[in-house]
């Protein structure tokens, strides 16, 4: 079954989603994995910085902020 996925950066504050796929490469991929962002992980968007970027997400009980360009590379499906 093909899932309908959207980039993580499109999530609005309060919305919850499931990671489907990581498009990130190199060092950032390593970091993201180490924080426990793997396919299946539930992410909740918490809020955006005053300038709209970066964006904070709740991940496994901790809050991690990502720049929107990077969040763009994480495909999620809404739950």
């Amino acid at each position: 079954m093909k899932l309908l996925s959207v980039p993580l950066s499109t999530l609005k504050p309060g919305e919850k989603s499931n990671v489907v796929h990581l498009d990130v490469l190199g060092l950032l991929r390593r970091r993201i994995l180490d924080l426990g962002i793997v396919p299946g992980t539930v992410l909740t968007c918490i809020g955006k910085a005053p300038a709209g970027d970066p964006i904070a997400y709740l991940i496994r009980g901790t809050v991690i902020a990502l720049r929107s360009e990077d969040a763009c590379l994480i495909a999620v499906e809404q739950v």
């Binding site: 390593r30 970091r31 924080l35 496994r60 009980g61 901790t62």
Partner: protein, 271 residues
């Protein structure tokens, strides 16, 4: 009876010293070296300060400590050298300060490693603990910030956790000096009394195990595999980037006898 690491071999003791000096660690006489590892901002420096009476800077943000710091404490007439490390999310991470932490955990030959975890986010913190347990059996897990966990109404079944992970677990609230005596006791039992541990090995999926088995014969031919857990080595060959592999090579060249990864054999390893 004296049970000091390296008693069984002067050569080993010599090499541990050489190794530690690589990291600027100088022990005086009979001193046990204890590393403090953990994710950033979990209270490693606070534990360090509480035990040594020193005043390393602490602060509520990840990345406050960017270099190794060392300090002494004694417990039951034994002297311990505690090494405060920068925080790191995993052993495969790559900023300068994380590499400092990783290199010491992997190659610094501490007599034991205390992995400090944040009680309020065990799920993520256990990642590093498991990684460290993969390379060393001399791991003590310190679950810090239990006061914060209490405030968040989280209750943790420490007995169950200890049974599952097979290494000593000590709950602490370092800022209030809670649980520190237990931590010192656990360290003492491990390095002085040589209490045994059975560190839980990560249950990998079929695919990963297959990839490891495919690589294992080749890895086991390496001289390095006699001193490093070959499975761990195979895994890192499969998932690390080249710079870490080069680092492993470099350190094993300086210290070919015994890297920390061999401590899984409980220090009874002989070449």
């Amino acid at each position: 009876m004296k049970l000091k690491l390296g008693d069984h071999s002067n050569a080993l003791q010599y090499h541990s010293r050489v190794m530690r000096e690589q990291f600027g660690i100088r022990t005086t006489g009979e001193q046990y070296v204890i590393a403090l590892a953990g994710n950033p901002n979990v209270g490693k420096s606070t534990v360090f300060n509480a035990l040594t009476g020193l005043h390393q800077h602490t602060g509520n943000w990840p990345g406050k400590t960017v270099d190794n710091a060392q300090g002494n404490y004694s417990y039951r007439n034994k002297s311990f050298l505690l090494v405060d490390l920068p925080g790191t999310y995993s052993l495969l991470a790559h900023s300068v300060e994380e590499e400092i932490a990783r290199d010491f955990i992997c190659f610094g030959q501490p007599d034991a490693t205390i992995v400090v975890l944040d009680a309020t986010s065990l799920e993520r913190n256990l990642n590093l603990a498991l990684q460290v347990m993969e390379i060393s059996s001399k791991v003590i897990i310190c679950v810090n910030l239990i006061d914060e966990a209490r405030k968040k109404k989280l209750s943790i079944n420490f007995d169950e956790l200890e049974k599952e992970l097979g290494v000593p677990i000590v709950p602490t609230a370092a800022r209030n000096r809670e649980g520190l005596a237990d931590l010192q006791k656990a360290v003492y039992s491990m390095v002085v009394e040589k209490k045994k541990t059975w560190p839980k090995q990560i249950p990998y999926s079929e695919e990963v195990e297959q990839a490891i088995s495919a690589l294992l014969p080749k890895v086991e031919e390496l001289s390095l595999a006699r001193v490093v857990n070959p499975k761990w080595l195979a895994l890192r060959l499969l998932d690390s980037d080249v710079s870490f592999i080069e680092t492993i090579s470099r350190y094993s060249a300086i210290q070919p006898l015994r890297t920390v990864a061999s401590q899984r054999q409980g220090g009874e390893f002989t070449l």
